[in-house]
Symmetry: C2
């Protein structure tokens, strides 16, 4: 699946991923009104509104980008109907040829971690038959529990040709509270990165990269430079661009010399583009066009910075 992701990136020329992290407040009033008219002010109504919002954005940007990253928390808050919308979004994006990175940040131990891996990346056995649950292509994984928590994901990834991105250095201000603490002279995130490199060493695809990637925030470019070298074969998923403050020029060192090795996420910056002053003239009813323009601008910003570097 890492090969599929890289081929999509090469085809589009866009090392970007659109974060589908909607809440009801992002959805234009007209779409909410229509969904509530059909389903009432219910969890089903909220989920229908979010689904319609997602669909229009995906239709508007799918030819420009290699991948999407739906954030499951945003759907999970709407209970079962929210998760139905999540699964529907995953399926729809895959039908459009997009690679889907489920931002689920799961992590547990042993058979419990394996259950998460099965539910999100694998097949579950029921009697004589097999089913998929949420069937993302990649998922994000939390490493705090160590190898016992990660290895079941690796097992399922190998069986199913899927991949994961492990949290290494997250984009938030307080990520340093634990992740930056020095252990034997090196920050915790560097120790985690060394394990990422080790865990992914026997999962290198045809394009030269591992199915085991890492999450490193755009808000920490210096750490990005270091971590790029610690995990040369790992794709880095970079959140924090746009709304969290990261800019194109901050991202150069997350990439390898081959121009590959990183994929940059923007969520609110794309899906809420219509609410920003710079795209306001496009109009709320054309929110998906605003998202398309924001994707084009993001690609230009990042590729411009990479060309200059």
């Amino acid at each position: 699946m890492i090969d599929q992701l890289i081929r999509n990136i090469k085809r589009t020329g866009a090392p970007v991923v659109v974060g589908l992290d909607p809440v009801l407040g992002y959805v234009p009033a007209q779409i909410q009104k229509k969904a509530f008219a059909e389903f009432g002010e219910t969890l089903e109504g909220a989920s229908e509104a979010i689904w319609e919002f997602n669909k229009q954005i995906v239709d508007a940007v799918c030819d420009l980008i290699p991948a999407v990253k739906p954030q499951i928390a945003m759907y999970e808050q709407y209970g079962i109907p929210g998760l139905v919308c999540y699964e529907r979004t995953v399926s729809y994006c895959q039908s459009k040829g997009l690679v889907v990175i489920g931002d689920i940040k799961r992590g547990d131990i042993g058979s419990t971690s394996e259950s998460y891996a099965i539910g999100h990346l694998g097949h579950v056995q029921v009697g004589s038959r097999e089913f998929t649950g949420f069937h993302e292509d990649f998922s994000t994984v939390n490493p705090y529990l160590g190898s016992d928590g990660v290895k079941p994901f690796l097992k399922v990834c190998k069986q199913e040709n899927k991949g994961i991105f492990l949290l290494v250095k997250t984009s938030n201000p307080s990520s340093g509270e634990f992740q930056d603490r020095l252990i034997d002279g090196k920050p915790l995130y560097e120790h985690v990165a060394e394990k990422v490199n080790e865990w992914g060493s026997d999962m290198i695809g045809e394009e030269g990269y591992s199915s085991v990637g890492a999450v490193v925030g755009a808000t920490y470019p210096e750490q990005g430079r270091l971590l790029r070298k610690v995990m040369p074969k790992s794709y880095i998923l970079v959140p924090g661009y746009g709304a969290q403050g990261g800019k194109g020029e901050d991202l150069v060192d997350f990439f390898n010399e081959d121009g590959l090795g990183a994929i940059v996420n923007s969520s609110r910056g794309i899906i809420c583009a219509y609410q920003k002053d710079s795209y306001a003239s496009i109009g709320e009813e054309n929110f998906a066009d605003a998202s398309r323009q924001a994707v084009l601008d993001m690609i230009e910003d990042i590729n411009g910075a990479l060309e200059k570097a």
Copy 2:
């Protein structure tokens, strides 16, 4: 909610929690057959079988115990029908007066963490109305992302009178890979424990304990002794008893002198008791009776060790 948990513990005299972590392989053949006859070999059929299994166990043990801990990963692997079964199990246990600890190990940053907190412990706004998603009483939370990830949970807990248990030292063999590494002369888990103590300091209930608890594995009794002192006001949720090797005598130091402060989980040891040699004579068709006997034996083991100490 921490007060409710402690009152339940005092009433039952049982500092134990039953982990409802079923997979289809644990469910007696007769129950599977009946569910498949109605729903086919489908995710719905699997979830119906698991629901019936859970219900019979809960009916058999609910008068003996203060709380249950369903592990959401086990349900999530069966996709949407699995999560419907999870929510149904949470509701049913609450209707029986049990406190429900959702073992979800979620954790993200900012509005994303808040979405998880809302989905599992809070209310979500839809137009003019409010709904609950999974409405557990407590949830487990992963601290790797730092305060930004935890504070949204604290906010929702205060609003809703709920609680959390943060992962501090997990019960698995490789938990030391990151958690035991020394930072300024102290292991990472101790730094996390100090934050747990701080985060929970303004959330102390009438019974003298905080709504912010911690997870510390039964398999690490020495660390338990230390962590008990670092977080004197935090309830400790102790996994790893039974199937993972922890015994009653290992648990004494997880408790405070008031006999409170810890609650010990057993999952497979209870729900699969009928498969163990020691309960085999009870018979597969009476699996819930075997679970009841296993709960009684566990309570005796732990209370016996506490009395001796």
